[in-house]
């Protein structure tokens, strides 16, 4: 649900950002288009273009007239010359000064289409050839005329009759290339202009369509990218939300997994750390509550047991004192009984002492000192054991209740000694190591070890695997470690020994030293 809402919002935002510029952009483009069309397609430009096209046509008409004059004059000359029999198959004399044409080509043909006179002036140029049928279609004309030749102003063709020869004079003129080029351009631009005018709406539509054709994929791409990012952002949030729900339902072992090192990754890491701390604190609270109950019970028990001990002890003493030694058998029995009672009384007194001590657990009396030295010093007391110490010289001086910590170590040594004796042989290894802001104290032995079932309860009060003792040792140990802000855990395999890891914080120590 969270995922859906956030993703939807993200997508809507992307859609809005993508589509918002469309309307003003559309109007802007339309305005630009209209303006440019109005600027380009105004009547003055249109008039000027039509005028230019008209001028080209006018100039071309002038060329036609000029060619017509030439062909008429040449036809008359040829006709006269032929009538006077001055020429046979000969060359026509043409004016050399050509101001209008680049080249001029004249051919005088008889009725059968045979050339009987020809002339050329101007630049080298091969005039178009005519087929016999084309010539035949020209032969019957009675006056000089321009003959449509090609859809181009480049070449002009004119024809005039030569009555004396019953033939015709055909003239081809090549116009100035600059005129041809300009004329073509003028006509083309004029046509283009008219086409734009006619296609005005289509062109506008084309631009609008093109705009949308370009814009739609961009918008789709933006949405796709938006969706991708929304998914990328919401995925870890969803994992986080799921994790929160699992933890809320009691699964304190659950941890959110998110590998990236971005802000969300940091959030996930912080969340996991928070869960860890809450769990630790919760465990500690539970532990403290249990411990409080145990202590109260120990206090009451110690009190209730201690009270009748003295009257019992006095009564037994009195029994012994009042005995008159008359019956030796009875006397022996009495001694045995009172010895048993006294032994049990001593046991009870020991029990009361331990209970009282457990119930009291005075506040820590911290002093600055070396943990390594404490370990070495305590180890020296147990010369009967095979002890190896690997103590990290980097471990600084620490603020600890050294008496309490000594008790912790003694407890470990005593337990290990018992375990090694039970097994028959074994060794102890003690190491210290500075790890970041913590100091790790590892106490290992290769004694009998602890079973998996027992491992879960070893820190509980009144639990022991030994034949003697009240089973309060490790409960007190854990209490002391926790009072120091540290933690303790045990790993063990039955028959192979046990390892206790104690982690003690250094930061609090450093702060207090500085203070």
């Amino acid at each position: 649900m969270v995922n859906f809402r956030f993703q939807t919002k993200f997508m809507l935002a992307t859609l809005l950002i993508t589509l918002l510029p469309v309307v003003p952009l559309y109007f802007l483009i339309d305005k630009f288009y209209q303006t440019s069309i109005e600027v380009g397609l105004n009547p003055q430009v249109e008039g000027a273009l039509e005028g230019a096209a008209g001028m080209s046509q006018l100039l071309f008409a002038h060329y036609k007239e000029a060619l017509l004059e030439i062909v008429e004059a040449q036809a008359q000359k040829t006709d006269a010359a032929h009538a006077d029999s001055k020429i046979g198959q000969s060359t026509l004399s043409l004016p050399t000064d050509l101001s209008l044409f680049e080249a001029l080509d004249l051919r005088a043909l008889d009725r059968q289409g045979n050339v009987f006179a020809a002339g050329h002036t101007g630049i080298e140029w091969r005039a178009p050839a005519l087929s016999r049928s084309e010539i035949a279609s020209l032969i019957d004309g009675s006056s000089a005329r321009i003959v449509p030749h090609a859809n181009s102003p480049a070449v002009l063709m004119a024809v005039a009759p030569i009555p004396a020869q019953n033939g015709i004079l055909i003239a081809f003129a090549r116009t100035n290339p600059a005129f041809v080029r300009s004329s073509h351009q003028i006509v083309e631009v004029n046509q283009m202009f008219k086409t734009i005018g006619l296609l005005r709406d289509d062109l506008r539509q084309g631009f609008v369509f093109a705009f949308f054709i370009v814009y739609v994929p961009i918008a789709a791409l933006s949405l796709l990218v938006g969706y991708f990012f929304a998914k990328k952002v919401t995925a870890p949030m969803q994992i986080l939300a799921d994790g929160t729900q699992k933890i809320a339902s009691g699964d304190w072992q659950h941890r959110v997994e998110y590998a990236a090192q971005d802000e969300l990754g940091q959030l996930v890491t912080a969340f996991n750390r928070m869960v860890e701390e809450v769990k630790t604190r919760q465990d500690r609270v539970v532990q403290l509550e249990k411990m409080t109950v145990w202590r109260e019970m120990a206090r009451v028990l110690a009190h209730e047991i201690k009270n009748p001990l003295t009257p019992i002890q006095l009564t037994v003493q009195q029994l012994n004192d009042k005995y008159d030694d008359k019956n030796s058998a009875y006397g022996l029995l009495l001694k045995e009984c009172t010895d048993i009672i006294n032994d049990e009384l001593q046991n009870l007194q020991q029990l009361v002492r331990e209970f009282s001590e457990f119930a009291r657990m005075p506040k820590l009396q911290k002093t600055t000192g070396s943990l390594n030295e404490l370990i070495a010093e305590t180890a020296r007391r147990y010369r009967d054991l095979d002890i190896t110490t690997k103590l990290d010289s980097e471990v600084p001086e620490m603020l600890l209740d050294f008496e309490k910590m000594r008790r912790v170590l003694i407890n470990f040594f005593d337990n290990s000694r018992y375990s090694i004796h039970e097994k028959g042989s074994g060794a102890i290894v003690i190491t210290t190591q500075k790890t970041g802001e913590m100091v790790l104290l590892r106490f290992s032995d290769t004694g009998t070890g602890i079973s998996e079932q027992a491992l879960a309860k070893i820190f509980e009060p009144h639990f022991s695997t030994k034949k003697s003792g009240m089973g309060l040792g490790l409960a007190i140990v854990r209490n002391i470690v926790q009072e120091h802000g540290g933690s303790i855990r045990c790993n063990s395999e039955l028959g192979r020994g046990a390892t206790f890891d104690i982690e003690l914080p250094m930061n609090a120590v450093a702060e207090q030293i500085v203070g």
Binding site: E50, A53, Q57, F60, P148, H149, A150, N151, S152, P153, V187, N190, Q191, M192, K194, T195, I196, L198, L199, D201, D202, L203, Q205, G206, F207, F209, A210, I213, V214
Partner: protein, 210 residues
């Protein structure tokens, strides 16, 4: 609906100029076939004349349908004539299928293109003397031929290529060129543009025809 042309009647000039109209539709029997002669009015507006005289070819469309009255369609034909003007030789050309006519002046061109003689519609054997038939005719003129549209598209592209040759900053992306191609593609189709007449329907019996 017959003759559903995509008319672009929104052009301003089409409103200003007189509407193209089918003046007369004359069916007749010729050589055992039904033929029809069609006369069109106001085909050449001022705008169209100007366009033709600039050298741009225009296209005249005539759609004819023969059907039984209230019944089935018998035949349908579309006549397409292209009219062009050679501004250098000053002559008009009308092209229809393989036919080509060259005319020296506007009036004769107008006359030739506005009257379609004896368009064959059906063999007489297919028609029944006692039945009434309906001829529906619609005509129009488009000042832009498909060829001209394509030419315009290539102008658009050419102009852009010229701009690219100049070395504008837009050249680097190549986006402008593609956009022009896209625009030219969108407007380059053989769409019908121009002035179209309303439909003209005439009813006749074969027995009444001369």
């Amino acid at each position: 609906m017959l003759l559903a042309w995509q008319s672009v009647a929104s052009h301003a000039w089409a409103v200003q100029d007189a509407e193209v109209r089918i003046k007369r539709v004359t069916p007749r029997v010729s050589q055992a076939r039904l033929a029809v002669t069609i006369e069109i009015e106001n085909l050449f507006s001022e705008k169209i004349i100007g366009t033709i005289r600039s050298g741009l070819p225009s296209v005249v469309f005539v759609d004819i349908e023969l059907a039984e009255k209230g019944g089935r369609r018998i035949a349908r034909q579309r006549i397409v004539q292209s009219i062009s003007y050679d501004i250098w030789q000053e002559r008009y050309t009308i092209e229809r299928d393989t036919l080509r006519r060259t005319l020296a002046n506007f009036d004769s061109m107008q006359q030739a293109s506005s009257t379609l003689h004896d368009i064959e519609m059906s063999a007489l054997a297919q028609l029944k003397g006692q039945l009434s038939y309906v001829l529906t005719v619609q005509a129009g003129i488009s000042p832009i031929s498909g060829r001209q549209s394509q030419k315009f598209s290539s102008w658009l592209q050419d102009s852009d290529e010229i701009r690219s040759d100049v070395g504008s900053q837009e050249r680097a992306s190549g986006f402008q060129l593609n956009l022009s191609k896209l625009v030219s593609f969108l407007i380059g189709g053989d769409k019908r543009r121009g002035n179209t007449s309303p439909e003209r329907r005439i009813e006749f019996r074969i027995s009444e025809l001369k």
